[in-house]
Symmetry: C2
Subunit: 288 residues, 2 copies
């Protein structure tokens, strides 16, 4: 089974738990709708790649971690799309969950996915308590308060924002979760894997900044986009397009060299390189 199929399979099996037995039909469907077809599944791909680089000696535990992380990510998308946040009409090319079902069902689907994420890890912990419990601690830390993605969203309601804390919790947290949970799932110490996740998260942030600025290059003929319009500091405003592109390359090179020594180090470096190419906006490839 290739990696994408493995991830889809792990997510599907998790959703099947939430849909089992006598359940309200629409909410049950919404769980599936919110999680498939998946997006790029970047976070679980990183998680599984790290686990494989570390030996992947308990594939069932890795699968549980993969599913749990993706469920949390999908839950955050469902809630972020709600009218009181982004009021997004579309997600992954189809109506967002609250548009397809209803707002109450979108709130409940997000809640259920969060709970299911921990349920899946708790089930894995029955056979592998040490790893399971560490996975749960890490997932909670990266998703809740005070340092997880909930905190990241929460910063957007503040008049005065701690930018480092904001970016780390909003974008970085789930990438750090991805590398650390991959290590934990394979029985390795998660600590040395923090830097890789942190750098990948930072790279995503800069790539987003570039995309935000470049969209307007095409659309408005000027290199300043939404971030600048809202006075939000970003890498392009600070360094210019070429500077930000250079920084993105540097972060990614640093990410690769931060990979801890492990059996599958070379293959993992290859995966990070591939993901890097994917996040680099087309318009700046020639600059780097």
């Amino acid at each position: 089974m290739d990696l994408n199929a493995r991830i889809d399979d792990a997510v599907c099996r998790a959703i099947a738990i939430g849909r089992g037995g006598v359940a309200p039909a629409q909410l049950s469907e919404a769980l599936d709708y919110a999680t498939s077809p998946g997006g790029a599944r970047i976070r679980p791909t990183i998680l599984a790649s790290v686990a494989m680089a570390c030996g992947d000696d308990r594939p069932g535990v890795t699968d549980a971690a993969v599913a749990a992380l993706e469920l949390i990510h999908c839950a955050s998308l469902v809630h972020d799309d709600l009218p009181c946040f982004d009021d997004a009409e579309l997600r992954r090319g189809k109506p967002s969950v609250h548009r397809a079902y209803s707002e109450p069902l979108a709130v409940l689907a997000g809640d259920s996915l969060i709970i299911l994420a921990f349920d899946v890890l708790a089930r894995a912990a029955e056979d592998a308590p040490r790893r399971g419990v560490r996975l749960m601690r890490t997932l909670a830390q990266c998703s809740g308060m005070p340092n997880g993605i909930c905190a990241g969203q929460g910063w957007e309601s503040e008049a005065k924002v701690d930018l480092a804390a904001y970016h780390r919790s909003k974008t970085g947290a789930l990438f750090i979760a991805a590398t650390q949970m991959g290590a934990i799932a394979a029985g390795h110490d998660p600590e040395p894997w923090y830097e890789l996740g942190d750098r990948i998260g930072e790279a995503f942030q800069v790539a987003d900044d570039l995309r935000d600025a470049l969209m307007d290059v095409d659309a408005l003929g000027k290199p300043a986009g939404q971030d600048e319009a809202h006075g939000r500091p970003n890498a392009v405003a600070e360094l210019g397009v070429a500077g930000a592109t250079g920084r993105l390359r540097n972060i990614l090179a640093g990410a690769i060299s931060s990979i801890p020594s492990c059996p599958g180090e070379a293959r993992l470096a290859q995966m990070v390189r591939m993901q890097s190419e994917r996040i680099m906006p087309d318009a700046v490839r020639h600059l780097a």
Copy 2:
């Protein structure tokens, strides 16, 4: 420390984890606002009472279970109060979370409380993995899909409702969680404790039905309230006020006689009797 103080203390310590470090101030405050001052804290009182009846040999684990269950209950109240559900202005005599803060912060506060509930149990599981993992499985089952309180709310979006599943998941689930988690926290088998939780949940349902009907006795001079107006089947419509009151007494008597043999059986029976008196509407006391 008396039981109420012990419960408040456990909840406060859990909230302090979510508020630690550099966190967005309003969301951080909202976590505290949503959980204190508490309501009757009936579910954690039942949980702690069962744990004590079973010996309470790991008080730290009991405290974690108490906090986790109360956090999930509070999260469900915060989300149920949202405009897309009950649009409640007040909760426990003060503005609901989305009125006091904002709708985005209410969504995030609920999400954070759910995650924190599992985090608190995962922390307890580091020292007591077997109990911790069982507590997480039980909490997930009683709060998520397909059988937990999320499912209960989800049924309200269905045209055709499985009433038994609806009541059991909407009202019963957290009472079953309370008795079973109490047993697990003290190292006992949760299975024999299912019936007590289930019966207490059923008693609450009938007491609610009575209150719904009796509110209108005072307000409108007729014994049929919201449930009947909406065609929702309830115990009063089915049995009349006197009949439903009798049924409530029977359920509570059954609850007490279902208490499994354990060191603190007599004291626990006393607690259930006391809680029973509290839920019995004043207007029907003379009927029973």
